[in-house]
């Protein structure tokens, strides 16, 4: 069983946290800090498995993590999960995020935290692996997103319009139209 899924950046700021077992808020933050502390000490060429810290559970749990550029993806699992399998699962999850967000980067995770949660919900449910086929996951997520959008309704329309205009990337209206040197031969007008 997967006990927790944590994504945080190189400075320890959490980008996504999902616990499949109840911990109080204080405990959650403490676990994040401790996990970051353990994982950030690791070199890049050592193995991806860490015997877990003392907070998140006894001797049965280990941390399986992957480091992608600025983000650490950490899965805390117990002995009933295959370690190499979880490593592959992290890979599948990241590739799914990539497909859903088009070249995903850390900012996408920051600003669309809820969407990342929904994608994760299709992969892992209740601490167990649900679906590992990337195309299937992406398809389901897209259907759900479409459903949500279509539900917008009239009340949300003005707000959507406003935000659409705000987000529209209008190119700057040029003050000076400089089309370079063009010799426009103006034909001389014949006198009446």
């Amino acid at each position: 069983m997967i006990k927790a899924i944590l994504i945080f950046n190189n400075h320890g700021k959490p980008r996504l946290i999902r616990f499949y077992q109840y911990f109080s808020e204080d405990m959650q933050q403490q676990i994040i800090r401790e996990t970051f502390h353990l994982v950030s000490k690791r070199d890049d060429n050592v193995c991806n498995f860490l015997e877990g810290g003392s907070l998140i559970g006894g001797s049965d749990y280990k941390l399986i993590y992957r480091h992608y550029a600025t983000l650490y993806f950490v899965f805390c699992v117990d002995s009933s999960e295959s370690e190499l399998g979880i490593l592959d699962l992290i890979q599948v999850f990241v590739e799914t995020l990539d497909k859903c967000f088009e070249n995903v980067c850390e900012l996408d995770l920051i600003f669309h935290m809820d969407k990342v949660h929904y994608i994760l919900q299709e992969v892992v449910m209740g601490g167990m692996v649900l679906e590992t086929n990337m195309n299937e996951i992406v398809a389901q997520v897209e259907v759900q997103n479409r459903m949500e959008k279509s539900e917008g309704g009239l009340s949300a329309a003005p707000a959507r319009a406003v935000s659409a205009v705000k987000n529209m990337n209008l190119p700057e209206i040029p003050r000076n139209i400089n089309i370079g040197d063009i010799n426009i031969k103006v034909p001389s007008l014949s006198p009446f």
Partner: protein, 759 residues
């Protein structure tokens, strides 16, 4: 109240805050706005607010006021609101909160919703935070969904069922039929869920295991064959292996079904061999499947050819360059080391090499495995490697390594001298991390090897001179110098080179320990007692010892002060007893709990002259009339916490009926314990004499730890006539008001010299 901004705006605002204080301010403002919005009934942007709250929650700020809002959102008919509502429920609610009861009804309704995505939301939430009551209520619904035709729902329902079974074990029965039928599905997601469900059911109940064993093994084998042999299928392919996740799951289930069962194992043999040979091991996924196959082969009753193949695969893993694979290989070798010991021994060289790896996780695995592989034949070479490892190992592994080395040394030591050398080596390298019992164990070992006393004390003295920071080492060294100081001063020793040590040197060394800041109070106690013991073993500097001891009579540490004062008294008033009290310790017998022999030592004192040096350890008592036979527990008190006192005390506190604690040379002493109250105990001591001559002036003494009160009544007589003519009885009342356990009693033993003469 300003209208709250959408999620992205808020995130931008939080990120632009430059200090923690600024961030807190932004978040507080936002939370206030959100709370106000929650109080309004109709609001277009409700889902945004909850999403913002969840973001704030992730950063660590309190978000409990959103719980009721979650409940309301879940009940809303709009999909977007339901979605966020359920997400909020999973993050903020748990079964301990009251609000979670309120969503049960919503979940129930949503489970029969027409939209499959709404159903899936409900299933997901139930699987994440469903309490036992909720599970009981909704289990029939889940069972119905397991039979639906929608594979998306079926796979989610399967995992939900797993959660239900985990919460309420009895409901497992309900899901067995549906689980069986799910195995004939084509959809891999559903199959995966079904296999997980069956695994959970089998692990919970042996009867279910039996049923599935009979029925499902052929099906599973069929599915696996399909996966392994079939060609490339783009849907499920991961780097060339067809749905490795499903393969791994099925292999695990096969392992559980085939354990301890010949028939099932036979059915799987071919399949496992096929998987083992066909899977491509160049990528991680292939290795994952191979690894699982190996574990399954080794766990079921497979044929020997297959086992050899499996161990070879593990050996290959061990030599792989990828550290992950090596870690995995060692983990699996750990699992089989108890059953296939010889097979693992073949790879000992590689494992010992991994001890030198840079990676801390690999080191940890290698340490565990090396400790498991130590045996009588390879003890010397393994110990060399382990000691090298100990000197360079990361601090978190030190304690484990040290205790592992001690256990191994104890079990397989080829010679006593080697054993003592090894322990000394460990104490010098990792002395700070060893466990507390090491010190008394080591002392016991040293006293038991009487031929090596000279060698040991010389080595310890030299170690003490180099380094006094490792407390266990210092304690053992002080104890030995105190006990065997005379051997140290004699100078010659067969085993090591001779070094002239003067009395001043020895006292200097002990004084340094006494005064050093690095010494703990326990160590100081050891050093003081050792100094005192030397007073009977050296000739010239007794005055120096007296002055040292008297200085500590006004020490701030109460323990040391008490000791010093009592030792002073030993110098002054009880000088005639000093030699007797400070004599050599007898051989300590290793005892286990339940032994009745109280390990009492008997020391006849022929002529107690103060200052006389007693060289012999335990002389046989002679029994002419007029001898005082001291059954002294003094000796025990002079030494460190020892097992014998533990046993004796255990006897006292455990109200054993009648115990013969001493039977030597015709003198028998028995104890009868009776529990009077919760903390009180009456002990009747009965002594009898079966020799030919009378024993007169027979006195019994006893000492107890500080937390126990002792009261002696007068004995019935003070002489023991011959041939068991009459018995001497004495009543002792013990009171243990603090109900001090044995462990604690142990620790307070080396404190008082309180001995109360029973006469």
């Amino acid at each position: 109240m300003s209208p709250s901004v959408p999620l992205q705006e808020m995130i931008r605002a939080i990120r632009s805050a430059r200090t923690q204080c600024e961030e807190r301010g932004v978040i507080q403002r936002e939370c206030a706005a959100i709370r106000a919005q929650f109080r309004q009934t109709d609001n277009g942007g409700r889902s945004h607010n909850l999403a913002k709250l969840l973001y704030v929650h992730m950063l660590g700020y309190p978000a409990h006021f959103g719980q009721m809002e979650c409940v309301r959102m879940i009940a809303s008919p709009r999909y977007s609101e339901k979605r966020v509502g359920y997400l909020g429920a999973m993050m903020l609610l748990d079964e301990k909160q009251d609000a979670s009861l309120l969503i049960t009804n919503s979940i129930k309704n949503d489970l029969s919703h027409s939209n499959q995505y709404v159903q899936s939301l409900a299933l997901c939430t139930l699987a994440c935070m469903g309490s036992a009551e909720m599970c009981r209520d909704l289990a029939p619904e889940i069972d119905r969904l397991l039979r639906s035709s929608n594979s998306y729902i079926k796979k989610k329902a399967a995992l939900c069922a797993v959660h239900i079974v985990r919460k309420v074990h009895e409901l497992g029965e309900l899901f067995v039929p549906s689980a069986r039928s799910l195995l004939s599905e084509k959809n891999h997601g559903v199959l995966h869920g079904a296999v997980v469900l069956i695994t959970e059911l089998c692990e919970r109940s042996p009867e279910t295991l039996e049923r599935f064993r009979k029925v499902s093994v052929p099906d599973l084998v069929q599915i696996m064959k399909g996966l392994v042999i079939s060609g490339y299928s783009p849907d499920h392919d991961v780097a060339g292996v067809s749905d490795p996740f499903l393969q791994v799951r099925i292999l695990r289930l096969l392992r559980i079904l085939g354990r301890n069962n010949e028939a099932a194992s036979d059915a799987m043999n071919d399949l496992l061999a096929q998987v083992a040979t066909n899977t491509d091991s160049t990528k991680t996924v292939g290795n994952a499947v191979l690894y699982e196959t190996v574990l399954s082969v080794l766990d079921i009753k497979s044929e020997s050819g297959l086992r050899v193949l499996a161990v070879n695969i593990l050996g290959r893993f061990l030599l792989n360059n990828d550290r992950n694979i090596r870690y995995i290989a060692m983990t699996s070798l750990q699992k089989i080391v108890s059953t296939d010991h010889n097979a693992v021994q073949r790879h000992r060289g590689t494992i010992v090499d991994c001890l030198k790896d840079q990676d801390a996780s690999v080191k940890r695995r290698a340490l565990e495995l090396s400790l498991a592989l130590v045996s009588a034949s390879n003890i010397r070479s393994m110990m060399k490697e382990l000691l090298i490892f100990l000197s360079s190992c990361p601090p978190e592994l030190r304690a484990h390594a040290a205790s592992g080395i001690f256990n191994a040394a104890e079990r397989y030591a080829p010679s006593k001298r080697w054993h003592i050398d090894t322990i000394l080596h460990v104490l010098t390298t990792a002395g700070g991390d060893v466990r507390d019992e090491t010190v008394p164990n080591l002392i016991q070992l040293i006293t038991n090897t009487s031929e090596l006393h000279c060698y040991t004390v010389h080595k310890l003295y030299r170690a003490l001179l180099t380094d006094i920071s490792q407390q266990p080492l210092v304690q053992v060294a002080c104890w030995c110098i105190g006990e065997y100081g005379d051997l140290l001063l004699k100078g010659e020793c067969q085993e090591t080179e001779a070094v002239q040590v003067t009395e001043d040197d020895v006292l200097d060394a002990l004084e340094i320990v006494l005064q050093s800041h690095m010494s703990t109070p326990t160590t100081r106690g050891f050093a003081l007692t050792a100094t005192m013991k030397l007073s009977t073993r050296i000739t010239d500097n007794v005055d120096r010892i007296r002055s040292i001891v008297s200085i500590y009579g006004s020490c701030i540490d109460v323990e040391l002060q008490q000791r010093a004062v009592e030792y002073n008294a030993l110098f002054k008033k009880y000088d005639h007893m000093r030699a007797a009290v400070l004599e050599r310790m007898p051989v300590i017998q290793k005892n286990s709990l339940g032994q009745t022999n109280g390990e009492l030592s008997e020391e006849p004192i022929k002529e107690s002259q103060p200052g006389k040096v007693k060289q012999e350890e335990m002389a046989l008592p002679q029994q002419p009339a007029g001898q005082n036979v001291y059954l002294t527990f003094h000796k025990l008190v002079c030494s460190t916490y020892l097992n014998q006192f533990k046993v004796f005390f255990m006897l006292l506190l455990a109200s054993a009926p009648t115990v013969t604690v001493y039977e030597k040379n015709g003198v028998t002493l028995t104890l009868i314990c009776e529990r009077q109250s919760e903390s009180g105990l009456t002990v009747t001591l009965t002594a009898s004499n079966s020799t030919d001559s009378d024993i007169s002036s027979f006195t019994l003494q006893a000492a107890v730890p500080k937390s126990v009160q002792l009261q002696m009544r007068a004995p019935s007589r003070d002489s023991l006539p011959a041939h068991g003519g009459a018995k001497l009885t004495q009543l002792v009342v013990l009171n243990n008001p603090n109900k001090v356990g044995l462990q604690n009693a142990n620790r307070t033993v080396p404190t008082s010299l309180t001995s109360i003469k029973m006469s």
